[in-house]
């Protein structure tokens, strides 16, 4: 089993490294970040739609057919990403895509020296806030900081910042939920 686990990790690392190097060579950090965003969307889609995952790992289907199927589904993504996804489907399926994404993020941090911070707010950030957040992340995490902004109108206010597995939730929703819990417990 360890051999299989190591083999799987090596396979994941190869996918992530290949994708990162190709995208970085082609379009720099913007292309890398764009592919990262697309991979996140695909992972989220696969979690809620298991049919594609099943089709991509269907042993009764020929590997080449699975590859062409996945490439066709993700033809609107970058060419490098769709190619890697096709190879994944050809070699067994898209189950390892979340681990590829995690390895991809590690490579962005370790190989490119870039820290990606995902920021979720109710209103768009201005430059002052971007600099403020970048400086905070740079001081605490190091490297060049790239912000990925997302607007969520369901948020009452505040901000959620995530960098890999690290997360700062300073949203109004979370605060009010804490207040609600405290009121129910103590009152």
């Amino acid at each position: 089993m360890p051999a299989n686990r190591y083999h799987a990790k090596a396979e994941v690392d190869i996918y992530a490294k290949t994708l990162l190097e190709q995208l970085n060579a082609k379009g720099g950090i913007d292309a890398v970040m764009e592919a990262r965003s697309q991979m996140e969307q695909i992972v989220a889609y696969n979690r809620s739609h298991i049919e594609l995952n099943r089709a991509a790992s269907d042993a009764t289907m020929a590997p080449e057919k699975r590859a062409s199927l996945v490439k066709g589904v993700f033809s609107n993504t970058s060419e490098e990403l769709s190619s890697v996804l096709g190879v994944m489907a050809q070699r067994g399926g898209l189950d390892i895509l979340p681990r590829v994404l995690a390895a991809y993020n590690d490579l962005i941090k370790n190989q490119l020296g870039v820290t990606v911070v995902d920021v979720v707010t109710r209103v768009p950030l201005d430059d002052h806030l971007r600099d403020l957040i970048k400086n905070k992340a740079k001081n605490e995490l190091g490297g060049d900081v790239v912000l990925r902004e997302q607007i969520d109108t369901n948020m009452l206010g505040g901000i959620i910042m995530s960098a890999g597995s690290r997360r700062i939730d300073a949203s109004m929703n979370t605060m009010l939920e804490g207040v609600r819990t405290t009121l129910k417990k103590t009152s």
Partner: protein, 203 residues
Amino acid sequence: MNKRAKNACARICSVLAAASAFVAFPALAFANEEKEGIAVILPDMNEFIPMLIAFIVLWIVLAKFGWPAFDKMIQNRSDAIQADLQKAEDARVEGERTLAEYRQELDQAKMQAAQIIADAKQTGETARADITAKAQQEAAEMIEKARTAIETEKKAAAAQLQGSVADASVEVVAKLFGSGLTDDEHRALIERYVNEAGSFNAS
């Protein structure tokens, strides 16, 4: 008993001897009519000796043949009476013994009946005490359960009310924040939170 029988037999034999002499010598029996003086009461040897011989002969005959049969009959009768008396005595003793046994059994039966009644009474008292204790325990448990249920319901109601109050309060605050703030106010709030928020390394 034997003596009395022998005496009676002797008297009977004397009478029989006199009667036989009177029958055997009727002329001699009335011969004294011709005597006078003391001679009238003295026996005439001519009459006396035959009568004596007849008497002795009769006596011997009776003693030889009559008396043993009579004595045997009397003895048998006496034995029968004795046996009957013994049987009666045995029956009486047996009856008294049986009566004593019956009385003893009756006394035992009375004692057993009294014991049974006492046991039944004791059992009834015990059962009544058990039933009463069980009923009291069940009643106490029911009361405790009801009290616990009421307490739980009270707590649940209070918690629900508190939850409702908390939800309402949070909703009010949420509405105030959600629609009552401008974008600049939101950004000012974000800036404040970024400055006051914890570190990435601490999370």
